[in-house]
């Protein structure tokens, strides 16, 4: 990271935003003491997944799209499975849906523990990173690593490995875990659930900058509980639509100087930005949280809705409680399945799928030829949906802090961006900070 500060034209540049997944930059324009604009620039090189999927077989997207993101591969795998199964007119049996949910719990635990402890907590505690925290907060870091390890162990058990699981296929799984294998991970998950409750208490005690944002929240809502592996779309302004209608309600725009696409909600009054992720999920699905997660959220002082982006770390911790708790109940009620997968014969058609990645709703759409060849693919990752919301937060946030020393301003802006756990690898379709004052 380099900071260039020249007195004359007040330009500040940070080349790499640390502790995010991927690479990007932030550009702030200040005119007459007022923040005129904030731009997030993504310079993660494009990898063209939507193009390279054309011509591949309908069975291939779970393995290929997993490679979009090493932190949330299951999100990509399961959104693609849903979309292809939809195109082929197949719904997987209930027990396979539940097993997908269990695998997804593993990814939430691994990803949230990584973000809360290794990426975001150092901001609140005043450290450069988690390794630097070890000397003063060794037990805290160990608690985080222990939970992360439990999440990875669950992914490894159900998915074969933690990064790019091998056991997910269109139609279900290659191999079913046995009840005995699932039982073996129980003690680790019980400890992780205790650690998650401890995490909520820890992070609820952090100091949160005062910022209340009127974002439109968008998340899935599902009859199967807190949104994870399936659902339909709901918004905080009361809209509700099926995933198949995603394209009618949400438009992606390509913004100059960025390799990411920005998503907007199409409305009668024009296009509005919106936010996905933990705050949106929590605020739209508070009633669907498990009893333990709801209790610890209340004790942490969270209402049924959360509007301070900095408190996303508390909501992530609450979701850690929910995910560990639900994983345990799925394991306890697991009674096996008749088969590891169902046949998904190809047919010509279009299919849609959306699931809740740790960072927010992830949408896939595929158009298939009769023989299952992919003719067209669309992937809308959470970070490209959140980019306008992050910029809106920064506009409000930077304005109140223009008098801060630059180094401190940069640090606080990075913290505000990390509220969204932006996965820049995913959203190449993120941050060095430049500031222009005139």
């Amino acid at each position: 990271m380099t900071h260039k500060l020249t007195q004359g034209d007040h330009v500040l540049q940070v080349d790499t935003l640390a502790r995010v997944e991927g690479e990007g930059a932030m550009h702030v324009i200040v005119r007459d003491g007022l923040v005129a604009d904030v731009e997030l620039r993504i310079f993660e090189p494009p990898r063209f997944f939507e193009a390279l999927l054309r011509g591949r077989a309908w069975t291939e997207p779970p393995d290929i799209t997993a490679r979009i993101c090493g932190i949330c591969p299951v999100a990509y795998q399961l959104s693609s499975c849903l979309a292809i199964e939809d195109a082929c007119g197949v719904t997987v049996p209930e027990e396979l849906r539940v097993l997908r949910r269990l695998l997804y719990c593993g990814e939430w635990i691994e990803s949230h523990a990584l973000h809360v402890y290794l990426l975001h907590a150092p901001d609140f505690l005043g450290y450069q990173g988690a390794v630097e925290m070890v000397a003063d907060h060794g037990a805290v870091v160990e608690q985080g690593l222990r939970m992360k390890k439990a999440g990875n162990a669950l992914m490894t058990l159900v998915g074969g490995r933690a990064v790019h699981p091998v056991n997910v296929r269109v139609g279900g799984f290659y191999r079913l875990p046995t009840a005995q294998e699932l039982g073996s991970i129980r003690p680790m998950l019980e400890r992780a659930r205790d650690d998650a409750v401890g995490t909520v208490r820890l992070v609820a005690g952090f100091e949160f900058p005062d910022l209340v944002q009127p974002h439109e929240y968008v998340a899935l809502r599902s009859p199967h509980g807190y949104p994870l592996e399936s659902g339909s779309v709901v918004t905080s302004s009361g809209r509700a639509f099926e995933v198949a209608d995603f394209g009618k309600h949400i438009v992606e725009e390509h913004v100059a100087r960025s390799n990411a696409l920005h998503a907007h909600l199409e409305g009668v009054d024009g296009r509005t930005s919106y936010v996905v992720g933990p705050l949106a999920r929590y605020s739209l699905n508070h009633d669907q949280l498990g009893p333990l997660a709801r209790e610890v959220a209340r004790d942490a002082g969270l209402g049924q809705e959360c509007r301070n982006p900095f408190q996303s770390i508390v909501v992530r911790a609450v979701e850690l409680v929910h995910a560990t708790d639900e994983a345990l109940s799925i394991i306890d009620s697991w009674d096996g399945a008749s088969a590891a997968s169902v046949e998904v014969p190809p047919r010509a058609g279009i299919g849609h799928g959306a699931t809740e990645a740790p960072r927010g709703m992830l949408y896939h759409r595929y158009e298939l030829a009769e023989d299952g060849t992919i003719l067209d693919a669309t992937i809308v990752p959470p970070t490209s949906q959140n980019q306008p919301g992050i910029e809106a937060d920064l506009r409000a946030f930077v304005q109140e802090r223009l008098d801060l020393p630059r180094e401190e301003l940069v640090r606080q802006c990075e913290q505000a961006i990390r509220n969204y756990d932006p996965c820049i690898s995913c959203a190449t379709h993120f941050l060095d900070l430049t500031m222009e004052e005139s």
Binding site: V20, L52, I64, I71, L145, D376
Partner: protein, 282 residues
């Protein structure tokens, strides 16, 4: 090998660099949960932006490089990194063979750009995705999509101790036999790239009743032609064999060459509507 002070103290300085990739191989380092804190006492994590804001100035004793080169600025950046690195180790399929994004090497990148972006002129990219060794001298290439954490720790330990890493270059079949897994190709007729793929995963896929899909790339002497014949016997079409070799290590020479031999029944990957997108002037 550490950059030591006059009294001979100091830990080796480790840097982690990212090019076009999914972050999964870097994450594998963070996934060494039990070994992460001991590792941080063994080496100084001097540059690792995914984990810390702190930056220790180079030069670095060991640089881990994730990702492939896909932009002109990255093609320059890798030379700067080589200059400040005593040892340079590539981690993963992207850095070692170009990754899944090397599928563009077989296609028209302008077409790719217009499929994904409304304004292709905003997007700067090279025609090809290339491994790090195509640009600079690499001291060791660690295979995998993603890499294996035990292999990563072995490579780091070896470089700290100034010895060659003990990383096998034989095929997945050897690991499969050692594990006592049933051969999915022989027993079930499941197409499997295990015979031509480098070991390191522990024969994961066969243990999950599926064929190996080659994420560790080619082993040192792969007989891809013989395997391709076998895949045809198992019922794969030419286009399926071609795609089987063209995934995460599509740019690795043996896999690339074998895929080129199976272009016979190429599926219709282009559609007329793609051709309608003319690249807009900047």
């Amino acid at each position: 090998m550490a950059t030591r002070d006059a009294a001979g103290h100091g830990r080796p300085k480790l840097a982690v660099w990212k090019f076009a990739s999914c972050d999964g191989c870097q994450l594998t380092l963070l996934n060494c949960e039990d070994d992460l804190i001991p590792l941080a006492t063994m080496v100084e994590i001097a540059y690792f932006p995914e984990a810390t804001r702190a930056v220790v100035e180079g030069p670095y004793d060991v640089s881990l490089v994730e990702g492939s080169v896909t932009t002109a600025s990255d093609a320059e950046r890798i030379h700067e990194i080589r200059r400040v690195s005593r040892r340079l180790i590539t981690i993963g399929a992207c850095a070692t063979s170009g990754g899944i994004q090397a599928l563009r090497n077989f296609a028209d990148v302008a077409e790719y750009r217009s499929v994904v972006y409304a304004h292709p002129e905003y997007v700067k990219t090279l025609e090809r995705s290339t491994p790090i060794a195509a640009h600079v001298t690499v001291d060791f290439e660690l295979h995998g999509c993603p890499i294996d954490s035990r292999q990563l720790l072995e490579v780091l330990a070896a470089f700290v101790q100034d010895r060659r890493p003990r990383i096998p270059s034989y095929s997945v079949c050897a690991e499969c036999k050692r594990r006592g897994a049933v051969c999915v190709a022989v027993a079930h007729g499941t197409p499997c790239l295990g015979p031509v793929t480098q070991a390191g995963c522990g024969a994961l896929c066969p243990a999950y009743s599926r064929g190996c899909y080659g994420c560790f790339g080619p082993q040192d002497t792969p007989n891809t032609r013989s395997l391709a014949d076998r895949l045809r016997v198992l019922g794969m079409h030419e286009s399926q064999v071609m795609r089987f070799f063209r995934t995460f290590n599509a740019g690795a020479e043996p896999f690339r060459a074998e895929s080129e031999r199976h272009l016979g029944e190429r599926p219709d990957i282009g559609r007329p509507d793609i051709e309608q997108h003319e690249e807009a002037a900047p």
